[in-house]
Symmetry: C2
Subunit: 185 residues, 2 copies
């Protein structure tokens, strides 16, 4: 392991965000990111399939975290509340990284292909959530609907959190979006 | 206008579905579709940006139809009911084309790039719906949430309609998904 190996992954992620913001996503290559992070292109591709994936590094962990929280939620929680507990747990991973999240959102908003990938990840989060609810004995269509609702709440809360000045914490944004959802008639 | 010009668009759409189902999406070119439909490749590209778009031909019309129905809905309808009225109107365009919808869904499910495009179109439908609610005076976050809910109901209802044997009509599927959504606690 070379001298620079520790946290190579974190350095690549930070380098990518820096370069995407400075030069634009299309104008940045995987080689540029590797160089900026002080690793070889080969190391880059050991960690990431392509340069898009650098921006979605946390999504598998977020899905696992949501799933674990849903399975661990009290048995008497309703499907929607259990799904929301998953979203709060997943959101907890981002809580102290708002600056990163804001920069990342700006880059994604500027690139349709990244927007597509973001939607795919949200769809994967919905599927994971529905499966976790299924393991709690929730049947369809309730499982799928509660999963969609919870991920929508997360999405709306996250958008507010990264796009408004001095927002409350992400957990509060989630709670308020969930309350607004329930108030819909 | 050549002899075969009338309904060239419809013939290209049917040819594309036929070829995608037979040979696979990746193995079919725009040229193959044009030839099968009896038009030139140039005609194909006058109608469609690429071969993916053939499968999403109706989505702009569906969005317009949903938007018009939302604006025309009785003023005393709640945001969610107004949004759902839009979904029912959009679904009405598909009602007598279930065979087509079933075949199309099979092709989309088999191709990740088509799945991405489908998600983008659903996101566009959500944005259109939220804007239409905005014109009715609904503010955020209610407009965005009601739009997300309504499009989710549409998505869940549509999936049931194309993936189960002898389902009720799409309008009934939408009504039942909406009822299941409201029953979530």
């Amino acid at each position: 392991m070379g001298r620079w190996e520790p946290d190579a992954r974190g350095r690549m992620i930070r380098s990518a965000l820096e370069l995407f913001a400075e030069r634009g996503f299309e104008q940045t290559t995987a080689g540029d990111i590797a160089k900026n992070a002080g690793v070889t292109e080969r190391t880059f591709f050991r960690h990431f399939t392509d340069k898009r994936e650098v921006l979605f590094d946390g999504s598998a962990t977020m899905q696992r975290t949501a799933c674990d929280a849903i399975l661990a939620a009290p048995v008497d929680l309703s499907p929607l509340d259990a799904a929301l507990a998953g979203m709060v747990a997943a959101g907890g991973l981002l809580a102290d990284r708002r600056d990163h999240a804001v920069r990342r959102s700006g880059i994604i908003a500027a690139n349709p292909s990244l927007h597509e990938r973001e939607l795919l990840k949200l769809a994967a989060m919905t599927d994971t959530t529905a499966e976790a609810l299924g393991k709690r004995g929730v049947t369809e269509p309730a499982a799928g609907l509660a999963a969609h609702m919870a991920v929508t709440v997360f999405h709306v809360a996250f958008t507010r959190w990264v796009s408004t000045e001095e927002p409350p914490g992400l957990t509060t944004c989630i709670a308020e979006a969930a309350a607004a959802l329930r108030a819909l008639k």
